[in-house]
C-alpha cells in the first residue's frame, strides 16, 4: 500500500494548514474535533503559538454528540466564545468524525452567523489531507469575502499569496521577501499571511498582480482573478531565478495572463542528466530548483510529496504520493535537496543538501531553517548542491 510509512513522517494536516493561514487575521478558528487537533497543531505545526495570540479552539466533540447530531451544542459554544472574545470572523473546520457523519457545516456557519455580527465561514477540511489543502481553502475563503472589493489598480503592486510558517518558518522570511520584491521595483499591497498587517488585506483589490509563493495561495489567486481580474505569477524570487519572477510580474501586469516562470525553465533543461532532485511544496521547490538549474546548468527534477493543483505541476514538477514512490524517484538523482528527515530514504551514495521544511519535520531542525530570500543563504545551498552533485 502506498500509504504505508515506516521511515518518514507525514506532512501537517489540512486543519493545521487552515489554522496557520488564518493565524494572524484576528479571527477565531474552531475545529470540530474531540481532542488532539489543537495540541498537534500548536506543538508541531505552529511556531507562533507561544508568543503571538490567536484564537484557535477545538469543540471537544464526544461520541454521543456525534451520534445523535447534537449540533446545537457546537453552535452555542461557538457563539458564546465569540461573544466573549470578539474575533473579527469565525472559521469552522471539519475533522474525520463530523465528515463521515455528514455534518452540514455550511448550515452551521449560517446558524452561527445569524447570532453574531461578524462573518462566519466554513473551511472544507476533514483531517485526511495535508496542510496545503486546508491553507488553500482558508486563503480562498478570505479571497471570497465581501469585505474585499475591487479598487483602483496601483501599478507595479502585488499581493503575496500563500505565505505561512509551514513553508517559510525561518525568522525574517516575510521581511526578506518583501524587501526583495520592493528592490525589484514592485510594491507589496498585502501579505497573506505571515508577519502581516491584516488590515492591508482589505486593499488586496488594488494590486496589479498576485504573487503566489506556495501552492496554498493558488486557489485564492484564482478567485481574485475571477472577481477582480488580477493575474497571478507563481514563483518565489530565489537566487538567479528572482529576475525571471520579476519579468513574469511585468509581463502579467501588461497582458493580464497568469504565469509560472519555473515551468519552462525546468523543462528546457530536462534533457540533460538528471543530477539534482528537489523535494518539497510545489512552488517553493520548483523555484529553488529553477534557481539551481540556472546557476548549476544541470537538470533538476522536482518531487512534490504534498497535494498540489495540477496546474502548478509539469513533467519535471511531479506530484509523487507515498513513501516508497518518493524513495524510488529521489534515488535516481545524484544529489537530493530536501528536508533532513528524507535522508532516511536515501542510498548511501546519494549526496544530500538539507533544506528544512517546517510542515514536514516541524520543530526538529527548526533552528536550521533557511530563509531562501536571503541571497547568502541561497548561495550556501547552491554551493553545497554543486559540491554534492560532483560526488
Amino acid at each position: 500500500m502506498k500509504t504505508v510509512y515506516t521511515k518518514i513522517p507525514c506532512y501537517s494536516g489540512d486543519v493545521s494548514g487552515a489554522a496557520s493561514a488564518l493565524y494572524e487575521l484576528k479571527g477565531m478558528v474552531v475545529i470540530h474535533d474531540p481532542s488532539g487537533c489543537n495540541s498537534t497543531y500548536n506543538t508541531h505545526d505552529e511556531i507562533r503559538w507561544y508568543e503571538q495570540e490567536s484564537l484557535i479552539f477545538i469543540s471537544g466533540l464526544n461520541d454521543m454528540d456525534a451520534i445523535i447530531g447534537n449540533d446545537e451544542k457546537f453552535v452555542t459554544d461557538v457563539v458564546e466564545a465569540a461573544r466573549r472574545l470578539h474575533p473579527r470572523f469565525v472559521a469552522l473546520c471539519n475533522s474525520p468524525i463530523p465528515y463521515i457523519t455528514g455534518t452540514d457545516f455550511e448550515a452551521l456557519a449560517a446558524m452561527i452567523e445569524d447570532q453574531l455580527d461578524i462573518p462566519v465561514f466554513y473551511i472544507q477540511t476533514n483531517g485526511l489531507h495535508d496542510y496545503t489543502v486546508g491553507a488553500s481553502g482558508a486563503f480562498a475563503a478570505v479571497a471570497a469575502q465581501n469585505a474585499l472589493q475591487k479598487q483602483k489598480t496601483k501599478p507595479h503592486s502585488v499581493n503575496i499569496l500563500g505565505l505561512t510558517p509551514l513553508d517559510f518558518d525561518a525568522p525574517g522570511s516575510a521581511a526578506a521577501l518583501t524587501k526583495k520584491i520592493e528592490a525589484s521595483g514592485w510594491q507589496v499591497i498585502s501579505n497573506w499571511a505571515l508577519d502581516c498587517d491584516p488590515d492591508a488585506i482589505f486593499q488586496a483589490g488594488s494590486a496589479a498582480v498576485n504573487l503566489v509563493v506556495s501552492s496554498t495561495g493558488w486557489q485564492a489567486a484564482q478567485i481574485l482573478k475571477q472577481r477582480f481580474g488580477i493575474p497571478a505569477v507563481a514563483g518565489c524570487p530565489v537566487g538567479s531565478f528572482a529576475p525571471l519572477v520579476t519579468e513574469a510580474l511585468n509581463q502579467s501586469e501588461a497582458d493580464g495572463r497568469t504565469r509560472m516562470p519555473y515551468a519552462d525553465l525546468l523543462e528546457a533543461r530536462a534533457d540533460s542528466k538528471r543530477a539534482v532532485a528537489v523535494v518539497g511544496e510545489t512552488v517553493g521547490a520548483a523555484s529553488l530548483g529553477a534557481a539551481l538549474a540556472l546557476d548549476l546548468g544541470k537538470a533538476v527534477q522536482i518531487t512534490v510529496p504534498v497535494e498540489s493543483p495540477s496546474a502548478l505541476c509539469s513533467d519535471t514538477v511531479l506530484r509523487i504520493e507515498g513513501e516508497s514512490a518518493v524513495e524510488a524517484r529521489i534515488n535516481q538523482a545524484d544529489c537530493v535537496v530536501a528536508d533532513p528527515l528524507y535522508k532516511a530514504l536515501l542510498k548511501e551514495k546519494t549526496a544530500f543538501v538539507p533544506w528544512h521544511h517546517f510542515a514536514f519535520s516541524g520543530r526538529i531542525g527548526h533552528d536550521q531553517a533557511v530563509n531562501l530570500f536571503e541571497d547568502s543563504v541561497y548561495q550556501r545551498i547552491e554551493e553545497r548542491t554543486e559540491n554534492g552533485s560532483i560526488k
Binding site: 504505508v4 473579527r88 485526511l128
Partner: protein, 444 residues
C-alpha cells in the same frame, strides 16, 4: 469584516473562588483552548516504554501528525509505522481490510521483527464499524512471534469512558507471564515517571528497607525481562489513571493490589502506609516519626525562604492538586491559584477544607477559551507544574509531571527542595515546558 474593538475579557466562567466552585465540575463545557505547555506524556511516550516493541497507527494526516512527530522528537521513528487513511478508504473500501493490509505492509517493510506491536486504530474505526477482532485474529495467526497489543487512539470516547492511555496501560500488562507469586518483588504499574530515591519517596524507602524489588517498566532491559515481572507478588499504583491496568493485572494474576494515592496530608499518608505495612508485616512507627520530623523541618526551611510568595499549582505537575494546596495552606504557604478543569472524588475532603480555610483560593480552568488571554499577574508567583508556569508567565517554577517521582513525607522533603531551588534560580519557561513528554528522550 468588522474592526476588532479592545474590550475587557470576562473571566467569570473560567476562574472562580473555591468557595463558589461547583464539585466536581467547576466549569461549563465549551470550546477548548490548548496551552503551549506539552510536558505530559501521550500514548506514544507511554507505549515506547515497552522494550523491543513498535507502534502502528492507522488514521488520517491530521491525527497522525501528532503521534508521528512525537516519535520523531523522541528519536524513536524506527519504532513507529503508519497507515495514512484517505477518503477512498472510508467511502469506497472496507476499513477492516484496509487496516489489515496496512499493518501487514508495515511488518513487511520493517527489516526486523519486533517482539511486540501496539496497534492504534482511531475514532473512525468505531464509527465505520471496523471489525478489529477479525484483524487481530488474522494477525495473531499469521505472526505468532509477535505479541499484539490492542490499543486505541479514540479521544471521542474519552469524556464518558476509558481514555486511550488507560486502555493502553492495561494492554501493556497483558504480556506479563502468569508465574508463581514472588513476594520479594512488587510491580509499580502505569507510572511514567520513575520513583524518586528513598529520601524523596517513602515507598522507595520502605521497599528498599524491606528488601523488596520494585519493578518499573522503564527499567526492564528487554521484552522478556518485562514479561517475567509477572512474578511480582503485589501490584501497586499511585495514579488513578493506572487503576484499570493495575486492578486488571491483579485480577488476572490473582495478586493483591494497592492504590497508594499520591495524597499530601498526614492522615492520608499515614493511613496508606499503615495498610501497606500491615500487608508486609513491617513495623514502621519509629521510622515514620523520624520521617515526619525531617519533612516538617524541610517545610520550615522552605517557608523561611519562600515566605508569603504567591503559589500556583497545576494538575500536570501533581496528581492531587487540592490535597497539595491543603497541605501547603495548612503550613502557612500562600497558595493563590489551582489550575484544574475538574476535581476527583478522592479530593472531596480537601475541597471542603479549602472552602473553609482558603476562601480566596482561585480555581482556574486550563481549557476555557477565555484562558487564551489570561493576564500575567503583577506579582512574582511560584508555580508548581509546567502549566501553572505558563499561565503565571513565571520563571520561578518547579518543572515536574505526575508528582515527579515524589510520594509521602519524602514528597514533602523533595517538593520543598524543588520549590526553594525554583525561587532561587529562575529559568526560561518556553524551552522547558514546550518539550513533549518530560523525562523522555528529546531531540530538540
Amino acid at each position: 469584516m468588522l474592526k476588532q474593538v479592545k474590550r475587557e475579557i470576562d473571566f467569570s466562567k473560567a476562574a472562580v473562588p473555591i468557595s463558589q466552585a461547583a464539585f466536581p465540575n467547576p466549569f461549563d463545557p465549551g470550546l477548548e483552548f490548548n496551552t503551549p505547555e506539552h510536558s505530559h506524556w501521550n500514548i506514544v511516550h507511554i507505549g515506547m516504554q515497552l522494550p523491543e516493541s513498535r507502534q502502528i497507527y492507522i488514521c488520517g494526516d491530521n491525527c497522525m501528525r501528532g503521534v508521528v512527530m512525537t516519535a520523531a522528537e523522541m528519536a524513536a521513528s524506527d519504532r513507529f509505522a503508519m497507515v495514512l487513511l484517505q477518503d477512498k478508504d472510508l467511502l469506497d473500501d472496507d476499513l477492516t481490510q484496509v487496516t489489515l493490509r496496512g499493518i501487514e505492509d508495515c511488518i513487511a517493510k520493517w527489516q526486523t521483527r519486533p517482539k511486540a506491536v501496539l496497534v492504534f486504530p482511531v475514532c473512525l474505526h468505531h464509527f465505520m464499524g471496523t471489525d478489529m477482532d477479525e484483524v487481530y485474529e488474522i494477525l495473531e495467526e499469521k505472526y505468532p512471534d509477535i505479541f499484539w497489543l490492542k490499543c486505541w487512539m479514540d479521544p471521542i470516547m474519552q469524556k464518558r469512558g476509558t481514555t486511550p492511555d488507560e486502555r493502553e496501560r492495561l494492554e501493556m500488562t497483558r504480556p506479563l507471564y502468569d508465574l508463581p507469586a514472588d513476594l520479594s518483588q512488587a510491580n509499580l504499574i502505569g507510572m511514567d515517571m520513575p520513583f524518586a530515591d528513598s529520601d524523596e519517596n517513602d515507598l522507595t524507602a520502605l521497599f528498599t528497607r524491606g528488601k523488596i524489588r520494585l519493578n518499573e517498566i522503564g527499567k526492564c532491559q528487554d521484552f522478556e525481562a518485562y514479561r517475567r515481572t509477572g512474578a511480582a507478588g503485589l501490584e501497586l499504583y499511585v495514579s488513578q489513571f493506572s487503576k484499570l491496568a493495575a486492578e486488571g493485572l491483579a485480577k488476572r494474576l490473582k495478586r493483591p493490589c494497592f492504590f497508594m494515592d499520591a495524597l499530601w496530608n498526614e492522615a492520608d499518608i499515614d493511613g496508606e502506609l499503615d495498610a501497606l505495612a500491615d500487608f508486609y508485616g513491617w513495623k514502621i512507627s519509629d521510622w515514620l516519626q523520624e520521617r515526619k520530623a525531617l519533612a516538617e523541618k524541610a517545610i520550615q526551611s522552605a517557608k523561611a525562604q519562600i515566605g508569603g510568595m504567591p503559589i500556583a499549582i497545576d494538575t500536570v505537575g501533581v496528581l492531587r492538586p487540592l490535597s497539595l494546596a491543603r497541605m501547603l495552606t495548612a503550613h502557612g504557604f500562600n497558595v493563590v491559584r489551582v489550575y484544574t478543569d475538574g476535581f476527583s472524588e478522592a479530593e472531596h475532603a480537601d475541597y471542603l477544607w479549602l472552602q473553609e480555610h482558603a476562601k480566596k483560593l482561585m480555581i482556574c480552568s486550563t481549557l476555557r477559551p477565555e484562558m487564551r488571554r489570561w493576564p500575567k499577574p503583577e506579582e512574582k508567583v511560584l508555580a508548581i507544574g509546567p502549566r501553572a508556569a505558563w499561565f503565571e508567565k513565571s520563571p520561578y517554577f518547579v518543572q515536574m509531571i505526575e508528582n515527579g517521582g515524589l510520594w509521602g513525607y519524602g514528597a514533602w522533603i523533595g517538593l520543598m527542595k524543588r520549590m526553594r531551588d525554583a525561587c532561587a534560580h529562575p529559568k526560561p519557561v518556553k524551552p522547558v515546558i514546550t518539550q513533549k513528554g518530560w523525562g523522555c528522550a528529546c531531540t530538540l
